[in-house]
């Protein structure tokens, strides 16, 4: 059983500080939804408002169309997985998992049965007698999930639970979380500052900044068509090119920058007028070294400063004629051994792979 979660104009204030400001979002039952944002953006506050540890100062939290105001965390159909997991160190794995049943007065036999079922779900059969400290990081993670699922919540809330794991394990846990979510078919609300995590697992994401939601959408939508310069630079990497709008032709916009004119694509929701200050964004992977026969909408002259080898790709850092620094990435499959510091190149990019937005704050300032 899953439930819709609706935040209606939710604000949470601490004194005069708005930790969350007029947040409106409707999360559908059975959806994997992520709040993505830098630390201090208010995403944890929202999670606490949904779980019941913090009632909103304004607005309302609705779960299954029921206003949750004044209903404590122990009375809501939600389960929260804490960032540090908060497993109970003095209890065995089974006792941890069955704790929510124990407090509801379920008999010991039924508790054990349910714990065993959940241990099977998380592939830890027969390890219920162990103490928490005997488990590895990934196993603890899974026990925390099982413990949260034991009461069959309608909504599972996850507060950056993967942040303590190493890279490989984190990647594996992403897949596992997604699989568990499909199997139990309940609403997952995930909080993270890691855009890779959000993009790989979620159905939809909400990008937050300074207590407000900047954009809600499908993962590829948010990545490809950011609505604000903050989203453009926070989700994935992006090179900003600052300038003024010179020409508009339907959704194609020509921007005049110190490094030349570029053709970019305008989002319907973010209309620009000629003469507006704007930023055109182009992602590192959308910049190409033209080969014979290639014909890009835009050309850009760069002077290579340095590069780094990341494995599957090679990242190059370069300056434009105006001194603006940009980054571009070339797949390792392409031979780039002739390019080194001081090399002058002309790069190309397509207007469809570039978004133009009204000038505003970036995430990387």
């Amino acid at each position: 059983m899953s439930a819709d979660v609706e935040l209606n104009n939710v604000s949470v204030t601490f004194g005069s500080f708005y930790a969350a400001k007029s947040v409106n979002v409707k999360i559908n039952g059975g959806e994997f939804f992520s709040f993505l944002g830098p630390s201090g953006c208010g995403k944890t506050t929202l999670l606490r408002a949904i779980s019941g540890f913090q009632d909103p100062s304004e607005g309302s939290v609705l779960i299954d169309n029921k206003d949750m105001f004044g209903i404590g965390p122990n009375k809501r159909p939600t389960s929260l997985i804490f960032q540090n997991l908060a497993l109970f160190p003095l209890m065995s794995v089974s006792e941890n998992i069955a704790f929510s049943l124990e407090v509801r007065g379920v008999s010991k036999k039924d508790r054990q049965k349910r714990a065993d079922e959940l241990l099977e779900l998380i592939a830890l059969e027969g390890q219920g007698e162990k103490k928490v400290h005997q488990l590895s990081g990934g196993q603890k993670q899974r026990v925390a999930i099982a413990r949260a699922l034991a009461v069959e919540p309608k909504v599972l809330l996850l507060d950056e639970p993967l942040s303590a794991l190493d890279l490989k394990l984190r990647q594996r846990m992403r897949t596992e979380l997604r699989e568990i979510q499909k199997r139990v078919n309940i609403t997952f609300i995930y909080i993270t500052h890691d855009q890779g995590e959000a993009l790989t697992m979620s159905d939809r994401i909400a990008v937050m900044n300074e207590g407000e939601i900047e954009q809600i959408g499908l993962c590829d939508e948010v990545y490809n068509n950011p609505l604000t310069p903050f989203v453009a630079t926070f989700v994935g990497e992006n090179n900003p090119l600052f300038g003024k709008v010179k020409e508009i032709n339907q959704n194609k916009v020509k921007i005049e920058t110190p490094d030349g004119d570029f053709l970019s694509t305008m989002n319907e929701n973010k209309r620009l007028n000629i003469g507006d200050e704007a930023i055109a964004f182009v992602r590192p992977e959308s910049l190409f070294i033209p080969r014979d026969g290639d014909n890009f909408d835009n050309q850009i002259d760069v002077n290579i400063e340095s590069f780094e080898f990341e494995g599957n790709i090679k990242n190059f850092y370069a300056t434009l004629t105006s001194g603006t620094r940009i980054k571009f990435s070339i797949p390792n499959a392409i031979d780039t051994s002739s390019i080194s510091s001081g090399t002058k190149l002309q790069l190309g990019f397509e207007s469809i792979k570039s978004s133009i937005l009204p000038k505003a704050q970036l995430a990387i300032d």
Binding site: S51, G52, F53, G72, P73, N74, K75, T78, S79, L80, F82, Q83, N84, A86, L87, F88, L90, F99, S100, E102, V103, R104, R147, A148, A150, V151
Partner: protein, 309 residues
């Protein structure tokens, strides 16, 4: 030999001067202040009571008479047992246990509040206001309580003054003053171990329990108390031992017709000039304290290392 000693890791780590100071201080403390006096008292408790000049003479021999006296009373007594002393002893133990429990019940909510609910500045204020009264000597604090609880004392005068009662309540006669004084005397020794233990509990543990549907009471029972167990045992053993051995508070606050066991010991030493019997009674008190500590450790399944932490 000296060279061998100085090459030990302990000396290398701390330097010669500091290491020697530690060694001397610890040996002095342990041997001269703990072992020798206790052994001397143990020895004395098995000797006949003779004046110092007769020590080592024919009248000075080993005997069980002081322990026998505690159980069976004087040889001239007609009673089968020493009901007076055994009664004082039993009552002291029982009241000390009650005082310890009262202390625990009183301190736990406050310690929890300071450790987990109060904001830092309130917590500091509370801790300071707990400590300041203890800058005053124990005897003076007992006298202060005596002034409060006396038949013509502050409380009685106030209550008769506003007309709630027309006759003084006999706080001292019924030992209410004594119990209050004993609970108050060592309260910090319960408060701080409890506070330390609770403070170290991750707040997420409490929130996780709550999120999983646990009521506040159950969260305390299943999460907070198990975590605070070493602090509880540590506080209980300290309060019990000090209460059972308290002298100043009972002297000032007990009713004229009740005795506290240490008062009995004091009488044997100082008033009856029978150091041997006083020693025997002290040893009995020591044994009961040790049994209490071991029982607490057994009941709460706590190791000695955890208590000291």
């Amino acid at each position: 030999m000296g060279n061998y000693l100085f090459t030990q890791p302990f000396f290398k780590k701390n330097g010669k001067a500091v290491a020697i100071y530690f060694l001397v201080a610890i040996v002095f403390w342990f041997v001269f202040l703990v072992i020798i006096p206790q052994l001397y008292m143990l020895d004395l408790s098995f000797r006949s009571n003779v004046p110092p000049l007769a020590r080592g003479g024919p009248q000075d021999f080993y005997t069980m008479e002081h322990y026998q006296h505690f159980v069976f009373g004087s040889k001239t007594s007609l009673d089968a047992f020493n009901f007076v002393d055994l009664g004082v002893f039993g009552r002291t133990i029982l009241v000390s246990i009650m005082v310890t429990i009262a202390n625990l019940l009183f301190c736990y909510p406050i310690a929890f509040y300071i450790a987990k609910i109060a904001n830092p500045s309130t917590a500091r204020l509370l801790i300071v206001s707990l400590i300041i009264p203890f800058w005053i000597n124990e005897l003076l604090r007992s006298f202060a309580l005596r002034i409060l609880f006396a038949n013509e004392g502050v409380i009685n005068n106030f209550l008769t003054g506003i007309g709630v009662i027309d006759q003084s309540i006999l706080f001292i006669t019924y030992d209410i003053g004594l119990y209050t004084g004993l609970v108050y005397a060592y309260i910090l020794l319960m408060m701080f171990p409890l506070y330390n233990a609770i403070e170290s509990l991750d707040i997420n543990q409490i929130e996780a329990a709550k999120d999983l549907g646990s009521s506040s009471l159950r969260t305390h029972w299943r999460i907070v108390i198990p975590h605070a167990k070493p602090g509880i045992v540590s506080g209980c053993t300290m309060v019990f031992m000090l209460t059972v051995g308290a002298l100043a508070t009972p002297v000032v606050l007990s009713s004229p017709n009740t005795l506290w066991f240490p008062q009995l010991i004091y009488q044997w030493f100082n008033m009856n000039d029978n150091w041997s019997r006083g020693s025997a009674y002290s040893i009995i008190l020591l044994i009961i304290s040790v049994i209490f500590v071991l029982a607490m450790m057994r009941i709460f399944k706590v190791k000695i290392g955890e208590i000291i932490k």
